[in-house]
């Protein structure tokens, strides 16, 4: 075999080097991992990024405060609402603008619907990554209903661009409440089905239990957030710690796990879906009447200063850091994306496991590559 004598095929220590991605079925996008293998055992993982880097931060420096929000829909495309909300909240913080209650409620409901659809997609993809194709179709069945609601109210399915500084862009569709309630009933009846097909499966448990362990200390040190960190016992739900929008009006639990392995991360997300359903149920009938948008000037200018807003996306903590010099567009914007920090812990988790474990870990930390590269 000619390749064996070529460089980079095997290292001097006899390790086999393979490149997983940027074109690979389980990297969920254009992530490139260079993996050093000893037989099947992963010795070292090195992420190579930048294949979908669009420099949203640089672009935003020349966009107005109204426009830059919509570029963020393309970051974490499965949580476009929440990205937009984070940006809108930061601008509102800079303007010291009070958002009408109606807008807050609508934002929270849409954010939770987004979280629900993102977790559903994740659930399907986890099954797919572990080799079970069927769950993917079950997850998409319910996700489709949510996407239809999004389409009806926001006019788009994935990149909704519905949040504007001061509230939401339009009022909700007249059918919104009725359809949302129908969908919630539909989804609640399916949770048991999800558990039947995946959670209790012996092969699934073997593939995930004890795999990809992340300790609490490491989770904090690596800046891991979201369900991935909560599975290791780190309390980091921004919705609870620093409530924004209407999260201070609702009762919900922050799900904490102790396992720190793939199974714990899986269970956290499964429970979070139920919490999201409960949050929407509490809000959907109580949307207050009134304005859906606060009055803002045509050209928004933020005062000189620095503004930071943290929100909870399905993948973890999204931070928006705006530095303003008083002009009509931001001087500097930094997005602290959850996927980026979560990915940094991947080499630690994958070390010593098998290739199959690497795939399981990648799917349970729920990577969205445009969110990492921005």
């Amino acid at each position: 075999m000619r390749g064996l004598i070529e460089d980079d095929y095997v290292t001097d220590e006899g390790e086999f080097v393979i490149n997983i991605g940027p074109q690979h079925p389980s990297t969920h996008g254009v992530l490139h991992l260079k993996v050093w293998l000893d037989g099947e055992t992963v010795k070292k993982v090195q992420p190579h990024l930048g294949f979908i880097h669009r420099s949203i931060e640089k672009m935003s420096e020349s966009l107005s405060y109204r426009n830059f929000i919509f570029a963020t829909s393309r970051m974490d495309y499965l949580a476009a609402h929440i990205n937009n909300e984070a940006c809108a909240l930061t601008v509102e913080k800079g303007l010291q603008l009070e958002v009408p209650d109606r807008a807050k409620y609508i934002r929270t409901i849409l954010a939770e619907l987004t979280r629900l659809q993102s977790h559903l997609l994740w659930w399907g993809c986890t099954g797919l990554d572990l080799g079970a194709v069927t769950p993917f179709f079950y997850a998409f069945r319910e996700r489709e209903y949510i996407m239809e609601i999004m389409e009806e109210t926001c006019g788009a399915r994935l990149t909704q661009n519905f949040m504007v500084p001061g509230g939401v862009m339009y009022d909700i569709h007249p059918n919104f409440q009725k359809r949302t309630k129908e969908v919630l009933i539909q989804i609640k009846s399916k949770f048991q089905e999800y558990d039947n097909i995946m959670t209790g499966n012996v092969i699934f448990e073997n593939r995930t239990k004890g795999v990809g362990f992340l300790s609490k200390e490491d989770a904090i040190s690596y800046g891991v957030t979201g369900p991935t960190a909560r599975a290791s016992g780190v309390s980091c739900d921004i919705r609870k710690l620093i409530p924004y929008s209407a999260y201070d009006q609702v009762q919900f639990d922050e799900i904490l796990g102790t396992g720190g392995d793939c199974y714990a991360r899986y269970m956290i997300r499964m429970h979070e879906m139920k919490q999201s359903v409960s949050i929407i149920e509490q809000l959907i009938d109580n949307i207050p009447e009134g304005e859906f948008q606060a009055k803002t000037k045509n050209v928004i200018k933020l005062p000189k200063g620095e503004f930071y807003q943290r929100v909870e996306t399905p993948r973890g903590e999204l931070g928006v850091f705006i530095v303003s010099d008083g002009a009509a567009s931001p001087y500097r914007i930094k997005y602290r994306s959850p996927g980026f920090s979560n990915l940094s812990a991947l080499p630690l988790m994958a070390k010593g496991g098998k290739i199959g474990d690497l795939v399981a870990i990648m799917s349970t930390i729920d990577l969205v590559i445009p969110d990492i590269d921005r």
Binding site: M1, R2, G3, Y9, F16, V17, I18, H24, P25, S26, L37, E40, G127, L128, D129, L130, G131, A132, V133, T134, F136, F137, Y138, R141, I197, M198, N201, I203, F204, N206, R207, K354, I355, G356, D357, V359
Partner: protein, 364 residues
């Protein structure tokens, strides 16, 4: 007309034989002609079978995944698989520049030949068997492991890291699961006292072995199904392909017709293991008989033997297809753990159990 009424392939075979014997007087030439007819009709049968299995797999998958499956090309989408095969035929058969060209092109051929050869001793219907070799079971287990050579060859010659990993995995996997398959076959050999598949079927005249041999045979049946699913590289044991881990495993670099040949051999393998399981455990073409109840047995005999054989085989194929769309894939070390720590010890104990049972006459 007479042929149709007797519902028997054997009369068809005799009819053709007599017809040819009238035309060709030279006995050697007659034999060669019959062999050629046999080979061509076997290949034609297997290709049609694979079309059907491909269609069936899609429909079963669709049924389990709450979708419709192919429904556009032909009636109920039945021509979809023909269209796909045409597409594969017309595609360019790429050979990577750095691949070992000879082995790369040879591998799919070996895979297909290996799986086709196993068909020979299988009895499709009463008195309809290509070659009732007296060591049939041994032949089946020996030839069915030829496929691994094709897989190793494909993985090695592709000069692709994923392919190599896939080939190494399947080498470890198939060699291990071969043991369990062999041991579960032995339990039937012990009970029937013959290695010939024809004799094994005839020994089930008064009841299938899965009923006559009760618990130990049920255990070996289950082990056979699990181990042979692993041996033919189907999910949840598709380590060698493992799309989400190794993108395509040993056939990552294959395209066009060469790739289609891997698919062909996969489906022939699926049919073969199901046919062997049906023959050994469920009586092959033998109708459902209960020893002593002659009236009942007579009614059962009215259903043609080929119908019995194919319905049993397709039942097992259906079960194996359901595995694929239900379970996640095992990890490579768990796969070997399952074999060496669970299936192999169980089958060894089970062989002893069956032997004791056969000696003491505890079966029906």
């Amino acid at each position: 007309m007479k042929i149709l009424l007797t519902y028997s392939f054997s009369s068809l075979a005799t009819y053709i034989h007599n017809l040819l014997a009238e035309l060709i007087t030279n006995s050697l030439l007659l034999q060669v002609t019959e062999m050629v007819i046999l080979g061509v009709s076997l290949i034609a049968f297997l290709v049609v079978l694979c079309f059907f299995l491909g269609y069936m797999e899609r429909k079963v998958a669709a049924f389990m995944e709450i979708r419709l499956g192919p429904n556009r090309v032909g009636p109920k989408g039945s021509m979809q698989i023909v269209a796909d095969t045409l597409k594969l035929l017309l595609k360019e058969g790429l050979t990577p520049d750095s691949a070992d060209k000879f082995l790369f092109n040879l591998a799919p051929v070996i895979m297909v030949i290996g799986s086709m050869m196993v068909i020979a001793p299988i009895a499709f219907a009463k008195d309809f068997q290509l070659y009732d070799i007296n060591i049939g079971v041994l032949y089946v287990s020996a030839v069915s492991s030829l496929g691994v050579i094709g897989i190793l060859m494909a993985g090695w010659s592709s000069n692709n890291k994923y392919s190599l990993l896939g080939a190494m995995r399947s080498g470890a996997q198939i060699v291990s699961y071969e043991l369990s398959v062999g041991l579960s076959l032995i339990s039937i050999v012990v009970l029937s006292g013959s290695l010939s598949l024809g004799d094994i079927v005839r020994s089930q005249e008064n009841g299938w072995w899965i009923i006559k041999g009760h618990i130990p045979v049920i255990i070996s049946f289950v082990i056979f199904i699990i181990a042979s699913t692993a041996e033919i590289n189907r999910a949840p044991f598709d380590m060698a392909e493992a799309e989400q881990e190794l993108t395509g495993g040993f056939h990552t670099e294959y395209a066009g017709m060469k790739f289609a040949m891997f698919l062909l051999s996969e489906y022939i393998n699926l049919f073969v293991v199901s046919a062997v399981a049906a023959t050994l455990f469920l009586g092959g073409w033998m109708p459902f008989h209960i020893g002593g109840l002659d009236g009942f047995n007579h009614i059962m005999d009215f259903i043609p033997s080929s119908v019995w054989f194919f319905s049993k085989t397709f039942l097992i194929i259906f079960i194996i297809m359901q595995f694929r769309w239900t379970f996640p894939r095992l990890r490579v070390d768990q796969l070997l753990t399952l074999e060496w720590k669970y299936l192999l010890p169980i089958s060894m104990v089970n062989v002893i159990l069956v032997t004791v049972m056969a000696i003491m006459g505890w079966h029906f």
